[in-house]
Structure formats: C-alpha cells, structure tokens
Symmetry: C2
C-alpha cells in the first residue's frame, strides 16, 4: 500500500504547485508540529530550495511568515520526439521562462541530438534565463529503464540502446537528471497541469507518429518490469493487416497513427476517392497530406476523411476497451498529434469503449482530449526534474 | 512510491511466513534497535498475537529467545466459486488444520450461501479445530468493492449486489473480515505459497467457468477504480462470435472457458466429429463431457480435442499478448479448472504471447501453470485475513 511521502517532499511540492504559503498554513496542511516545521523550513532555507518572503495576511492571530520556493530555482525540461525537440526552462513553480522547439531526426543518434539539446540550453543561458540548472528532465520516444536512466532497445532510435543519457546530463549540468519515456512524461504533465489534474488512475494515450500509453496509478507512472509498460502500438488489431515496422502484421500503429494516416490519406488523395484531400494535394507539387488536412476535410463533410478518422477511432477504441476491462481506470486522455482530429475521433473511441467494456468499468469513465497539447511532455519532464531535486533534499 | 510497512506488520508477517525466529535475528531482519524491538514484542505478546517460545541455538554469544505467532491463532479462509465453496481453517502460519469442499450454486443467493459457510465453520468448531476465529478472508466470483467489503454488480451472483458480506462476517465472528474477488485471492495465494513466490509483478489468469485476471503489482493486488480491474472475460476476441451472457458478442469467455468448452465438446461428441468425446458420452446416459474428458482425449491424440484446446489457447494468448504489451509483467500464471488442459494449452498460449508481444517485454517472461491448483483461493484468503488482523495490531 502507498504511504505518504516524506514531509520535506510534501512541503516542496506544495510550494511548487500552489505558490507561497504561510508557515502557519504549512503546519496545518502537512500536519507537522511547529518545532518540526520550523526545523524543516530552516533546513530547506539553508539548502537554498526555499526562502521566507514577507508576512502573510492575518488569520486572526499573529501574522505568519510566508514561505516560497527559491526564486533562482531553474529546471530544464526536454521532450524529444521522433521529429522534434521541445525544451523549456522553468522556475521552481514550473512556469515556463523560455521555450524552444526545433525539428530534428531522432535517428541521427544520441551524440547529435544531445548536442542540439546542449546548444539550446546554452542559448537559454546566454539569454539570461538561468545561471545554473537545478534539475533536468528528459523524455525520449522509446522504452526507458527509469532506474538506470537509459533508453532500452528503442525501436525508432538507432544508436540509443543503453546510451547513458542521465549520467551525461548529470555530469554536464552538475544537477539531478531524470530520463523517461515520452508518453509517461505527457501523462505526468497532464496530471500536473491538465485535464487529469489530481486524477490518480488514468491512461494517457498518445496518438502521434506511433501510438503509446502512459499508465498513471496512485503512486505515479507505472513502468512495468522492463520499463516498456504501455507499449500498445504493437498490439494486433487485425489478423491480416499491413506489415508493421516491428515485423508483425496488423499492429495498431500499422493501421492508425501519424504514419499510417498519412499513407492512407495520400492514397485517397491520389485516387481521387477523397475530393477534399485531392484538392489539398493540388497539382502534385505537394508530396503529402497531413492529419490537419484530414481533420479539415472531415469538417467540410468529406466522407473519406470522416471514414479514415472513424476507422482509426474504432481500432484505438477496441484496444482501449480491452485495457479498460483490464485496468479499470478512472479517465482516458487522448493526446499526441492526431488528437487534432478532435471530436470525430473522440466520438468513435468513446462509442467502442462504452459498447465493449462492462458497465461497471465505464459507468463513470470520461474519455477526453489532452488539455496541454504539445506542452504536456515538457510539463511532465519539469515535474520529474523537480521531484528528483526535491527528493534529494532529504 | 512504496514505503516499507510498519515494523509490527513486518514482524508478524515474518513469523507467519518463516516460523519461529530469535529476537536477535528479528532485530537484524527488521532493522530495529533492541529497545524498540523489545517494546514491539512486549506489545504483541500482550495482544496475544505472539508468544516467546524457549531459546534459540546460540549464534556465538548469549542465546536469544525465540518468538513465534500465538499457537491459538486461527484464520478462516473461504473461496466461493460459481459451483462450489472451499473452506480452510488455518493456524497463524496459514497451515491448514481442516478443509471442507461443498458443491453449491452461487445463484441461490447470499443468505443461503452464507448459511452454508456458517454451517461449515460451526462444524469445524464442533470438531475442535478452533475456539475463536481471529480473522476471516472470503473470495467471491465477481467484482468487489474491497474498501466497502461488498460485491458490486456481480454478473453471475443475483441478489449479491452490495450485500454487506464483510459486515455480517465481522459481526458474526467478532473479528476482522476481508472480502475480495476470487481471482485476486488466487493471485495472492500463488504469490504466498506457489509458483509466483516472491514475484512482485505478475498476472494470474483464471480459466474456470469464466475467465478473469488477478493483477499483482509491487504493493499487492491492483483492483482498479471500481474494483473490477482484471475482468478480462468480456474482452472481445471475435467480431462476429457467439453471444455472451453479458449481452455482447465474441467475448473471450463466450469462446473459451469452462462453459464454452463444455458446449463445444458436447457438440463434437454428439456429431461424432471427436471419437474420443463420443466414446465418453457413451450411449447418451451421460449428458455432458467435461474439461477432463477433453484433456484425456487430447492425450490420446484425438484431433478435435487438441484443436479445441489450441483454439482456446490462441484466444487466451491473443488477449494476454495485449496485456503483456500494456503491463509488462514479469510472470504469467495460468490457473482455474481449465489449467488441467495442461501442456497443450500452455504451449499455444506461450506461442501467441511470444509472437505477438515486443521482445523487450517477453525476453524473460515465464508463462506457467498454477502450483496450488484449487488451493490457490483459500491460501490467498488466509493471507488477506491474516494481513487484516496484523494491520489492526498497530
């Protein structure tokens, strides 16, 4: 069973998530005696994690000193995708002070990609966003050994297998670093500041180039024995479906996801089956149609675009119905690039999940879109970075 | 994250699982100072949960006093199935002192079934197995709100919805009682004394009349938000399959499980498609063939029997492949009545799971048969009962 976290960790998280709090209120909220609280505060002030910041408004008696996170705290949050890097520098409250986004190809390998990350962080330093980083959180698009801080056999990341990402970052920046799977950090982000705020047991389903699932249970993200829990993109949904990059046939990812949708949409545009997509492909100078084009086509009433989205939603829904029967979560959040397919996709997923799972498990099961969009990943990476720093303050 | 359990709980569990231990060793194992340990021991002796029992063999210095669970501790373990009740009375170490098994029909409702349980427990008392019960653990064949100690909308248990099972047992026997789903207690039993001994993250798949899954994660059984996690019998495995008792079509349970296998085997016997089953049906005086008949037919090389088992294994395997991708467990245990189909079933399940899941998740994933067989349930119920009693000793 889960026991509550240590007092210093709860204190620092409370200041991170709610801002300045008076000492009197801190004592009440953390159920700490006054001497115990004062000792914790003094210790964390000495560690330069918090500062005392003036007087709180009176609660009727003596006015109490306000406590807040040290204003110089800085976390770097990095979300590596298959085709882009997002970097944010945040303060202690995880408010973004600077954000950078760059197209990259994750297949160019760890040295090149980490160099890009270093360049972006160096740029932020030059721009005066931080003097020194206190923690770094990184998400990568593949399975990760969270304990070891390394990617493990990541299918779309050649050269990254067991590459010591965490160790190199810790050494480079002289602060705690954390490495996790990209979908896990999105789930953490959505729980911190998005639609799953304060929801304990939920699934975050990312439908991007590939498909993955972040599993949030009471105590945090559930990673499984080898760190590959939630790897749902290679679940078979059609016995004789198309061949997948993994070598099997009929995987969810081979049928729906950014790559599969682009393939099917391009075919529908070229054959003229979809007038809306054919128009967007135009005179042939444009080589691809995008998920955005499909969403727009559907909004215009193009039947093929609607069918493409509904077919995909049905397939995602059938996998999610299975996972709902298995895990009985209290919410499903849909994120990733294809979340922009919006209501049509969501309606189809809901319809399959509600029809195919037992009433008890779906009686009160919201299936909703991500609120944070492409900021979910960096938000979660910042949460992980701050937790790592706060935990070390014991 | 999981923090260690309280010292008294670890102490009592250690004595339960390993038998008498010297005070010196207890201090070492629990990492308690000598005064703290002596205080805990004194308190638990006063609570009549443990006794001091002579001297341990010397470890080189002064001989240390042995401590063991109170010899008069008695737990009642009850495993209610769809068609039978198993009851065991155990001592503190969970060794069975008496065991009873009775055919019942769970559909006869809570009053009649609980009366049968009371009768069996009264019989044990008359036989001198116990004077007073210290804890009662019960498994029922349906979803349970573990917190409330009541079944919740159990499909095959009419009249049991929110029936106050735990409350009635607590009142009747004047001791802590625990109610859980039957598959969950089997998982707990298998972890305590079976093939999953000391394995933290595993799935226990029961293939009985119906199909269900106990999910064991680091801290214990994972029950989901509504207590129905692991309800995998109603996952759709064939779009146009037979109609299930739940109203949907193509559920795993409608295609394989005790009821489905009996139906298919009887059809094969009657049509003469399976000579082995036809011979067992004989001249028509026998109305059914059983899973045992199918297992025996397969052992004799009857092709239809082998096909029935392999078809079932393939369907179970396809669901498990999905769950392996999702949860990345470290072991899968197959139990329930149909586990007697043995190697043919297991081989087919393994083949599908290994072929359909990513190498990282299956690189070291044993798929094995339950060791405890139909004692898994009562074993787990006794573990739950003892844990409830030990926790209350704080």
């Amino acid at each position: 069973m889960y026991l509550p976290a240590a007092p210093h960790l709860r204190l620092l998280r409370l200041l991170r998530d709610e801002g300045p709090v008076s000492r009197a209120e801190l004592g009440d909220r953390l159920e700490l005696s006054r001497p115990r609280l004062l000792a914790e505060v003094a210790r964390l002030v000495a560690a330069e994690l918090i500062v005392e910041a003036g007087m709180a408004a009176s609660r009727g008696g003596r006015r109490s000193t306000l406590v807040e996170l040290h204003p110089r705290l800085r976390f770097a949050a990095v979300d590596m995708g298959a085709t882009s890097i997002d970097v944010e520098i945040t303060n202690g409250r995880l408010e973004p002070l600077a954000a950078y986004r760059e197209p990259v190809d994750i297949r160019s390998g760890p040295k090149a990609i980490l160099q890009r990350v270093h360049d972006l962080l160096a740029k932020a330093k030059v721009e005066g966003v931080y003097e020194k980083l206190d923690g770094v959180g990184v998400g990568v698009p593949g399975p990760v050994s969270f304990r070891d801080g390394v990617p493990v056999s990541p299918p779309i990341m050649p050269g990254w297998d067991r590459y010591p990402v965490r160790e190199l970052l810790t050494r480079e920046y002289g602060c705690p670093a954390v490495v996790d799977n990209d979908v896990n950090i999105m789930a953490i982000g959505e729980r911190h500041g998005g639609v799953a705020h304060s929801v304990d047991d939920f699934l975050f389903v990312k439908i991007g180039t590939g498909v993955g699932c972040g599993i949030h249970l009471a105590g945090g993200v559930f990673r499984g024995v080898d760190g590959c829990a939630g790897d749902i993109g290679h679940i078979q949904v059609e016995t004789n479906g198309p061949v997948c990059t993994c070598g099997n046939t009929g995987c969810l990812e081979a049928l729906f996801g950014g790559a599969a949708l682009a393939r099917d949409a391009l075919a529908a545009a070229r054959s003229g089956e979809s007038p809306a997509l054919a128009a967007r492909l135009g005179d042939g100078r444009k080589a691809t149609v995008t998920a955005r084009d499909v969403a727009d086509g559907a909004a215009e009433g193009d039947i093929t675009c609607i069918r493409l989205i509904r077919d995909g939603g049905r397939r995602v829904g059938s996998v999610l119905a299975t996972l709902v029967s298995f895990a009985n979560p209290s919410m499903i959040v849909i994120g990733g690039g294809l979340a922009q397919l919006g209501h049509v996709l969501l309606a189809e997923i809901r319809s399959v999940v509600y029809r195919r799972s037992l009433p008890l498990a779906t009686g009160n099961l919201p299936v909703v879109l991500s609120e944070l969009g492409n900021r979910a990943g960096v938000t979660g990476a910042a949460v992980l970075a701050s937790d790592a720093v706060f935990e070390q303050a014991s």
